[in-house]
């Protein structure tokens, strides 16, 4: 028995030491990624890290944290876990993690980094300095399956809500569900629609003061969605459990989905073939305050303020977001390149120019997602798409009830 115990204890010692790899003379940096192994983005990052080590001798140790990284990062940064580079939405890097982000301004200048002004400026506005480097820029809009449009005889992309409803009607006639919608994205879709009516500032005012039911435009926005649902324009089962509904666009059962560009890569992977994607800006509404703004966001990279190898970390970031590896990321994962001098995949034609021209892009639910009742708001948005409200006024009354 005793012998057995000592063997066991020995085993524990050995194995628990195994976690901390004995450092050799080379520099090692830790990279916490928001991707999971097996995803195309992860594959590219892993390959880039290997190539980087070959060239510079710096070993990049990658921890694949997946999307839950945003529930882990604050605690981990706070407790000083071994992190040099971390990856998350640039909103959160700019607003939530600023306490632990490294000032990248000088290194970026020295490296001649450009990127997209809209993201860099925003980062600096939040943090007071450049605290993240854009890695995977995204644009939002209505993504559609071109084959479905062709089948329904639709030639022009709709620009207004009325035209959009026409397109829906034609698609439905052709036996294709017009719009796919997953429950996880109902907040994004409805926010987009609200922005068209109120603009982001208008929404922010409502967020702070309430009074949704008294706001005609908010009521109308909700009413539009209710009409859309009642007309039977949502795909069967929508709002569905992510990613069931968006996948239907790939299967040819539905035609359009409101999302950001990563939806194309996800759907392609799920159905196992390249869907012929098209993209148009979210349609404008009559008398709306904000007819054209498009969602733009980014997954960005930041360096922990306590990193011991900030320069090496920054070099790797540059290695990823410019030139060859950035192009590879764009091609492999159907993303917009982070380096404006690279080329976007065919399905995302024109997005680089859009991003370069944008000065203040639309956010992901901007002010709303910091509201204390955000979780309940999301439920209401999903209920809106479930057709649970009689009319727009009933929905807005429910919103007011949260205050």
């Amino acid at each position: 028995m005793k012998r057995f115990m000592s063997v066991l204890l020995g085993l524990v010692m050995v194995l628990s030491m195994g976690g901390t790899v004995l450092a050799d003379d080379g520099v090692e940096i830790n990279f916490w990624s928001m991707w999971n192994e097996g995803e195309p983005q992860a594959t590219v990052i892993a390959e880039a890290a290997e190539a980087f080590e070959q060239e510079t001798g710096v070993h990049v140790n990658i921890e694949w944290k997946g999307r839950d990284i945003n529930t882990l990062l604050t605690a981990s940064l706070d407790s000083g876990d071994a992190i040099d580079i971390f990856e998350d939405d640039y909103n959160r890097i700019g607003q939530v993690y600023t306490e632990w982000t490294y000032d990248l301004t000088e290194m970026a200048e020295a490296a001649g980094y450009e990127g997209y002004a809209c993201f860099n400026d925003q980062s600096a506005a939040w943090a007071g300095y450049l605290n993240s480097i854009t890695e995977q820029p995204q644009v939002g809009g209505v993504f559609y399956n071109k084959a479905a449009f062709e089948e329904a005889g639709i030639e022009a992309e709709p620009a207004t809500w009325t035209e959009f409803l026409d397109v829906c009607a034609k698609l439905k006639e052709a036996g294709i569900a017009p719009l796919a919608q997953d429950g996880a994205y109902t907040n994004f879709s409805f926010y987009y629609h609200l922005v068209r009516y109120l603009g982001e500032d208008g929404i922010a005012a409502l967020r702070d003061n309430g009074g949704w039911a008294d706001n005609e435009q908010a009521v109308q926005a909700a009413q539009d969605i209710i009409d859309l649902v009642n007309a039977g324009y949502l795909a069967d089962g929508a709002p569905d459990e992510y990613p069931a509904s968006q996948t239907k666009v790939g299967l040819g059962e539905a035609a359009m989905v409101v999302c950001a560009n990563y939806v194309t890569a996800e759907v392609n992977a799920a159905v196992g073939e390249e869907v012929n994607w098209g993209l148009f800006n979210y349609p404008s509404v009559e008398g709306g305050a904000e007819p054209t703004a498009a969602y733009a966001g980014a997954n960005s990279l930041a360096i922990a303020s306590y990193s011991e190898h900030p320069q090496e970390a920054f070099d790797f970031i540059m290695y990823l977001v410019t030139g060859e590896w950035d192009q590879k990321m764009a091609d492999t994962a159907s993303q917009i390149p982070a380096d404006p001098s690279n080329t976007a995949p065919a399905s995302l034609n024109g997005t680089i120019e859009t991003l370069k021209a944008a000065d203040k892009p639309m956010t992901w639910c901007g002010s709303l997602n910091t509201h204390p009742a955000w979780t309940d708001m999301k439920t209401l948005f999903t209920e809106l798409f479930e057709g649970k409200y009689e009319d727009g006024a009933a929905f807005c009354a429910a919103m007011d009830a949260l205050y």
Partner: protein, 297 residues
Amino acid sequence: MKKNKTLICLFVAPTVLCLLLMYVYPVLRTAVMSFFQVEDLTADLGDWRFNGVDNYIKIFHNTGFITSLRNFLMIWIVGGVITLALALLMAVILTSGIRFQGFFRAAIYLPNVVSAVALATMWVQYIFNYDYGLLNQLVTILGFEKIRWLGTDAKLWAMIAAYIYGSIGYYMLIYISGIEGIPGDLYEAATIDGATKKIQFFRITLPLLRGIIKTTITFWTINAATFYLWSKLFSPVQTEGSTIVPVVYLYDTVFGGKGVVTRDAGAGAAVGVVLTLIIIAVYLVTERLLRSSDLEY
């Protein structure tokens, strides 16, 4: 036998240390923290600012927490009644001389030894799936419209159903142990007196199981109050109102979730204290209502 002080100290010390370090100290610290304004979990004691019951006021004014309490109540009451009733039913069936009872006991307990992540994935991705899920296939065969099992209305119930399915076996075995502990001659005598099975159940089995029922209610309460994993698995992308439970709310508040910009360890501690109080209250109430000490056999 002689009392050996050194031996006692040596043998008991590690356990006492464990109790102090793992239970007494943390519980006290959490309880104290719930009355302070603390943002970071790792903040120094010096940064704690006493703020009375503000944390409690804050959480009870937060709709997210209220929703999570409501969901907890549903899980606890509805889920509890169904689980314990079904478990008791199955326990009675499997002690009534049915064939293959060994197999059935093992099969019904099986979900308890399997990773909950695996179980929940089966339910979410198959049973409740809208397009090809088992339930909607049945619904279609019966000629009805497909149902959105994971929509805002049904999701909580879907989650509870899946959870119940996995939990029954454990409570069933506890009841079986209780039933098998009841002397057989009680039933024989009752049968001779002409009591039907039903009367026997309500007059003999149920009263004699009081103590055990009490235990299972306490266990269920603890499990319902600390419910976390299933909620997370039923809303994998982000916290949803339909499935949020207090522990999920606590986790988001303390560690920060999606869109949660400010963290508040003090409020999280208050949530923990509220849950603990609920458990204690339930324990005391069942203890009173189901006093079993006066029953002997």
